[in-house]
Structure formats: C-alpha cells, structure tokens
Symmetry: C2
Subunit: 250 residues, 2 copies
DNA sequence: TCTTTTAGTTGATCTGGATCAAAACCTGAT
DNA sequence: ATCAGGTTTTGATCCAGATCAACTAAAAGA
C-alpha cells in the first residue's frame, strides 16, 4: 500500500514514460496527469501484452471476466451471437480503446471480441485497476469517464438504429471512422475498412446488400470513392450533411 | 478523511438504516454489505431529496453535470432531442435506478430526464460519491457494476433495434417492464404503463401506429389484454416465445 | 499458376412498417 | 356536464429496405 502523498496531483501527461509496461496506460487514454511515482504504481496494473491474430478471439461470451483490454494495435469487433446463429456487431475497436467494460456487471463476458486484423492488446487485470484507482483519484475519475463515454456512444448508436435511414447510417459510420482515424494521425479522407459489408450491416442494422447499395449511391453522387475496402472521402462536408443529426461518438 | 480500518468489510445489507438520508443508498441498489460506520460515511454522500412533478424536468441536455439521481419513487424517461425537433427516448427509469451516468464523460448532461409521473429522487453529488468510493472499495466496485450494467442494457436495446421486428420489440419491452415491476414487488402480469404509445415507439424505433397495431395483434392472439394504458399478460410463456432471442436487461 | 472460396455488386420482387387519414376515446378544464 | 385537447385505434396506401437471384471480383489454397 502507498503513502497518502500519492493521492491526486496533476502533472503533464507528456511525463508518461514510453516503456512497454506503461504502454497500456496511454491506451487507457489517460490524459489524466500523473507524476513519475504514480506511474510507478500504475505500472503494476499492466498485465501481459497479448497478440491476437486475424480472426482470433480475444475473449468469448460467457467466459469469466478478469481483465479489461486496451487495444495497442490492430482492429477488433465485439459481437453478440443470438440463439438462432445470427450475430450482431456491437462495436468496432481501434488503438487506444478499452474492451470488456460490459463484463464488469456480471463478471462474465457478454460478447465475443474478435480481431479483424492481427492485433495486440494490453491486459489490465480489473481487480488491480480498482485497487489502484482507490489510491489515485484522478485515475478512478478518468476510468469513470471512459465508462460513461461508452454509454454515450451506445446512445448514439441507439439513435442511429432507432431513427435513421440507410444512407444516413452509412454516412454516420464513415464519418465516425474518419474522425477516429484522424485522431490517431491517419488520413481522415483516405482509409481502408477492416470489416466486411456484412459486419458493417450488422452494426448498422442493415443487410449487406443495402450497405453495398448505399456505398454505390454515395459514390455516384461523388461524395466518396469506394474500391473494395478502400474508401476515399471527396466531400466531407456533404457527407456530414447526409448524416443529418445524431451525435456520433467514439 | 477516514481511518484505514474503514476499508472493505462485509456486513449484512439488512443493517442499512431506513432513515431518509440513507434512502438513496438502497436505491443505489447496494447489495454491497456495509457496516454502520461505513453507512455513516455514505450518508454524507446523499444530497437532498428532490420532487419532480409529472411532465417536469429532472435535468436538461446541455446543463452542467453535478449529481447522479437515484429514483426514490415515480417513473421517468430520458430522451435525446435531435436538431429537427423529433425526440428519441433512450430509457425508462423506475424506483431504484440511477440516472445521469452518461453525463460523467463530458460533465454535461447529454439528454433530458423527464418525469412521466410525480416522482421523487435522491441527489447524489458525484464528486462526493467518488471521494467516498476511494475509501470504500466495495462501494466503488458496486458503482462500476452499475455502470457496466447500463452498458449491457444498451447493448440489449441495440440488438432489439438492429434486428428485431415490431412484435418482437414490443414483447421484449413488455417482458422487460414485467420483470422490473416483479422485482419491485408488483404484479408481473398486471400493470399500468406510464408512457404513451408514441414514447414506446420512440424507444423501440417504431411509429406509434405500429406500436398500437402490435398491441392489438397480441390481444387478438389472447397473449395480453390492453385497455388503454393498462396491460394484463395472460400468457407469459407465449410472450417470451415471441421475444425470440435477445438479452433484455435492467 | 489455376482453382476454389469468399466477398461484393447489381437487378427484380416482395413486404413490414411508415405515412396519410379519419374516427373513437380519454382527460382535464371551464 | 360540456368542450377542447391530446391519445389511441383502425383502415388504406406507399415505399425503403429485405429477400431472392445472378453475376463479378478478389483472396486463399493447391
């Protein structure tokens, strides 16, 4: 256990060291502000790195929850599979995002996490995270923000699924990808999708044919170019207008 | 601040006192296990009770986030209103449920919370909750579970909105109400809805006419009786079969 | 390399739910 | 009680997206 002096001070995030043990911390996307000593403590929380190859499971629905996972590199989807075999994608996850939050409630994973390309994650044993959270209030607070952000994100999807039409949904989806890639330093107008039309459809509540048609329509209108999985956005503004409303987040 | 001895002990929840200051704690649905001293501490967290009359706002989208609210009695909805005026209901909330979790991320409320009948809530200043959480690990852990449960619930709705058809959605909705009422000691087959067809529709991603027709259909099939807002479920089993799949939670 | 498999596009048709419209019903206010 | 508002039901029509089907293109294996 730690002296009280550890609790709550604010330093610059740039002080985060770059070694591997702390890599997951940045992925935990901690613009929290911690000093070196605190980082020392946090380092404890970091479990092993784990590689998951394309098509592999990071975890499966129904298995015991032990850890959250911060995506270090790669791209994953989470999906729930229903009795009848059909599966619904609940999210796509890229570098820096945290997986497994849904499992805290029951201590069982409620969905499958599957890598859509070779990926690397940092395991964050949840019990450790909680222990350290109670020592470093800013970490705890930040963790609460992350969970809350997930709720807000889900509400955005609910809005999309509840009210929008196919083209709006796709515009939303593309702009969401674009923004998240931009944040990570990639082009916001030029990127490769990692998922199939079917997976996009599953996420957006559409059939793959409808997704395909919506792509084609946007291309005819010269808003985007689609070449298989490669997307080029020609007119971000117009794409945004197509999105209509809706607060698409994360 | 508190002596370390406070941290993590397990007592029986029956020890929770029944005074008003602690009322919100049970609403926070804390099957956590706390001793009297700990309850003393927790009492601190409880803010004022607040009454919201039918049609009134508990909070509005865009306003500053300060507190969570535990529903003490009554019934509320949360909804996001889009630019174009149309609003989407993101949830219905009854006794014991916690509102405002979405606001932690941005420190602004992302939706409106409106009472559908005269209601009473306990205000839980979030900063205080966090402070005490770091002293009482079991409280922190339970709070994490509550947030996680909200995420799971939202995934359930996404599943519903993404793939199910009108009748399945309504069956889901009714069974969800039924279960939540049963938990609170009310009849699971005989209850009054507090919301309009339009609000149900908004929540389920359907138009009010479709909701009405789905009600009528279930009634024709003698699965339920509908008399205005009063619902009687005649055949729970058959209703469950109609629901198909989907993990309807909370 | 060629072959098989999987993913994506595009067309034709069908249908569940949206939309439009009207009537019946409740609720609350005067 | 009566009236005005909102809510619900039900019918008729329409259309966005599902479904079915055929074909093309790109990976993955041999």
């Amino acid at each position: 256990m730690l002296p009280e002096s550890f609790v709550a001070t604010n330093f610059d995030v740039a002080q985060l060291r770059t070694g591997c043990a702390t890599c997951s911390l940045r992925e935990l996307c901690l613009p929290v502000g911690l000093n070196d000593q605190e980082i020392e403590v946090l380092t404890e929380v970091t479990g092993h790195k784990r590689k998951v190859q394309r098509g592999g499971y990071l975890y499966r629905a129904g298995t015991k929850f032990q850890s959250l996972y911060a995506v270090k590199s790669g791209f994953l989807k989470t999906c729930i599979l229903e009795e009848d075999g059909r599966q619904q994608v609940t999210g796509f996850h890229m570098t820096g995002e945290l997986l497994g939050l849904d499992a805290i409630s029951t201590e069982l994973h409620t969905c499958d996490a599957i890598a859509l390309e070779d990926s690397e994650v940092c395991e964050i044993p949840f019990a450790k995270l909680e222990k350290i959270s109670s020592i470093i209030p800013s970490l705890m607070h930040h963790f609460h923000k992350i969970m809350s952000r997930e709720i807000v994100r889900d509400h955005g999807v609910m809005l999309l699924l509840g009210g929008m039409k196919a083209e709006e949904r796709l515009a939303n989806f593309l702009l969401n990808m674009s923004r998240r890639l931009a944040i990570r330093g990639y082009s916001e107008t030029n990127f490769n999708l990692r998922m199939t039309r079917e997976e996009i459809g599953s996420y957006l509540g559409l059939k793959l044919e409808t997704v395909s048609r919506a792509f084609s329509k946007l291309q005819e209108e010269a808003v985007i170019s689609v070449k298989n999985k490669h997307i080029q956005i020609h007119d971000l503004q117009r794409l945004k207008e197509k999105m209509g409303n809706s607060s698409c987040t994360t």
